[in-house]
Amino acid sequence: MNYRRKLKSNHSINMYLPMIISWAVFLISLAAFGKYIALRTLGVITLFYGIMAIVPYFRTKNIGFLLTSLYMLTMTLFLFIVPPDLIFDSSGKTIPSEVAVVIIVMLLLGIWLLYLTFRRKIKWRGTEIFELAASNVGESKESYTSRPRPVDKIEYTKSDLVGFANFLQRNLISLSFVEDTRVVFTPVKNSEEIPFLYKPNIEYEDRSWVAFYFDGNVTVNISKKDYLYYKEDLAFDELCDSLGKLYLEFFELYRVGSEVRIIDKMDELKVAVMT
């Protein structure tokens, strides 16, 4: 299906920053301290990334983060055990067996990760959510308000809701916050996940969210930042309603066991893997 994109293109370099920093530190170390220190410094950086990459796994239970962490830790091991000469001048040198094993594991993990990346299994789906919500919404000037909007009232059980929240998190469709009276779902776009995952006590009230209250009410809030991320001024009332209805539709699909249809709906958009 062909959708006319309503969101602006994402030109953020946030997701490439760790790689850029690592290379910069590596090159500076190489110039200042030589091959041995440079490789070990890079090893310390990948160790840090490996540890940090495990945090989102505990939050979302998405296997991709576990694999990323394992990949980075394997790379750390490689950088600590590989003889520096093998990297910078490998001609005529044999690869030690333990290094060879580590390289094979790294390659396998790398291929697995690439597969998950291109299947969009480790992609934050905020862009798809906002595109789908806007698909049938017309334009209207100056219609934004910072108020949340009640959408509907439906019946559900708390366990259904918690199960749905876990599903959305596992598939990186939204992050969920379970409160005393409601569960709040916040769609996260690629490269915007860092504060959600690492900042303690994040304030999500001013961000975009859909809240399912335990009494059945469903309320939507769209932040000004996300609203302005659309290319045009969309009718804000319709947009909020559409976003709420989208989550309700997803919830119904989840309840009847058709979770895969939710993923299909988002994959149909064919949004670029890195946005």
Binding site: R149, T219, D237
Partner: protein, 199 residues
């Protein structure tokens, strides 16, 4: 009794000298302001204001008398029983078109109002409005009752379809007994340009 008259009566009755002054008025067949003032050691102006106010309220009667061709007033108590009865229902606003609950409203675009959500997240606890322009501007925060907060939570967004007050109240599950407090907040927000009505 009209509210304004009751307010005047209440204000004078609360004075320390009200009881001794009435005591004099009960015991004397008539008394002048200067006689009462000297008797109670009060300023004549204070006593005169009190007696004039009671005359306005028809509690006293004023008689003009002459002493050496100079006129002055003597006051006589008319009512020995004062009843203060105020019908608060008369305070219900009737002079606004908002009281026609079929009038259609929605939030005005760029109103600048900031709504704060209550703890349970399903109604607003207050609304902050920017009053005035530039450096003269200041924030006015209006605390809302739960009913008003629920009503505003369901108020149509800017540029969306207008809804009449009854429809919004139904959507927000608000009983008609709360309609006057709803019309009060709608009137206020209309005055501040937060709410607009369909033309």
């Amino acid at each position: 009794m009209e509210f304004k008259k009751a307010a005047i009566l209440g204000s004078y009755m609360s004075k320390d000298y009200a009881e001794p002054l009435f005591k004099l008025l009960v015991n004397y067949s008539s008394i002048s302001a200067s006689e009462a003032a000297s008797r109670l050691n009060l300023h004549i102006r204070t006593v005169q204001d009190f007696l004039e106010a009671m005359t306005e309220l028809n509690i006293l009667k004023k008689e003009e008398v002459y002493e050496k061709k100079r006129p002055y007033n003597r006051y006589v108590l008319l009512k020995h029983l004062i009843k203060m009865e105020i019908n608060l229902d008369k305070l219900q606003e009737n002079d606004s078109d908002i009281n026609n609950y079929s009038i259609k409203i929605r939030e005005r675009n760029n109103s600048g109002a900031q709504f704060t959500t209550a703890r349970n997240g399903q109604y607003f606890s207050n609304v902050a409005i920017w009053v005035g322009k530039g450096r003269e501007g200041k924030e006015r925060k209006i605390s809302l009752t739960e009913t008003q907060g629920r009503f505003l939570f369901n108020l149509p967004f800017p540029n969306s379809a207008f809804m009449d007050i009854i429809q919004i109240m139904k959507k927000a599950h608000i009983d008609t007994e709360h309609s006057s407090e709803i019309s009060d907040i709608v009137n206020l927000l209309k005055e501040y340009g937060v709410v607009e009505t369909e033309k």
